[in-house]
Amino acid sequence: MNAPRPPRIELECGPVSALDLALYAAASGDHNPLHLDADVAKAAGFERPVVHGMLTMAFCGRLLTSHFGVAALRSLSVRFLGAAVRGDRIVLSGTLTSVDKEGMATYELAGHNDAGKELVAGTARVSAPAHKAAP
């Protein structure tokens, strides 16, 4: 099975709002005030509250699932290179680097904010799409 794989996939998310950060804190259980409280963020040297790294990674997940579906995702791994802050847009891309003989595709991932600051780099493996059973 040699399903065609797009050589490049892209997704732009945000701008990340205070509400997004509050919802993510509640959903994820990460209530670190660095993400929610402007004073705490300022004291830590950030202009605005910091976007949870795991929210940026969740956007990486969307980059992949929007193209391949969640069930095809075999692995997802990222390194956090820099922090996005509230109000940033997050621009993600995946570049196809290989497809093995079982149809498993490997994508190299990269993400930056709208100012061009690098946020994440990573890798994902996506299995060959399964044939949908006839209804």
Binding site: A26, A44, G53, G61, V70, L76, F80
Partner: protein
């Protein structure tokens, strides 16, 4: 440097339910609108037995079990001095809304870099459903140590 006695520390397994409201809140937070995460008939139409969860959702389950903040407290490391350095997931089977997932976390490794200015802590999580491993994940945390 963390106390080496903590390397190999593992949490007691506990079971966390994948509640539909939690998955919906998570989807809302990450801007995910696909109905396969909330609408059972949409999930079945796509060939799944029940609604799925987004790829990084298991982190929420993991925090219910034992958050990184709780582990840092055990290690005596202030949360303000740490950053999330790396995160990875290996998926073995799809997780569905309504599943009950057993979670354990292990402090697998710790090492210093830059002459002790930075300490890395490697935490591995294992997610099982009725004895079957559905996901393995790894979180690497970096601690900025105060100058001596």
């Amino acid at each position: 440097m963390i106390d080496f006695r903590h390397i190999g520390f593992a949490t007691q397994p506990s079971t966390v339910a994948v509640d539909p409201w939690r998955v919906q809140l998570f989807c809302q937070a990450i801007g995910e609108a696909d109905p396969i995460y909330r609408d059972e008939s949409a999930a079945r139409d796509a060939g799944h037995p029940a609604c799925l969860v987004p790829p990084t959702f298991l982190r929420a389950i993991e925090a219910d079990h034992c958050s990184a903040a709780e582990i840092l407290e055990i290690l005596g490391i202030p949360v303000a001095s740490v950053m999330h350095a790396e995160q990875s997931f290996e998926y073995h089977a799809p997780v569905h809304v309504g599943d009950r997932i057993e979670v354990t976390r292990t402090l697998t490794d710790s090492y210093d870099k830059r002459d002790g200015a930075l300490t890395f802590i490697v935490l591995d999580s294992h997610f099982r459903r009725e004895g079957e491993t559905v996901c393995d994940s790894r979180q690497i945390i970096v601690v900025r140590n105060p100058k001596e």
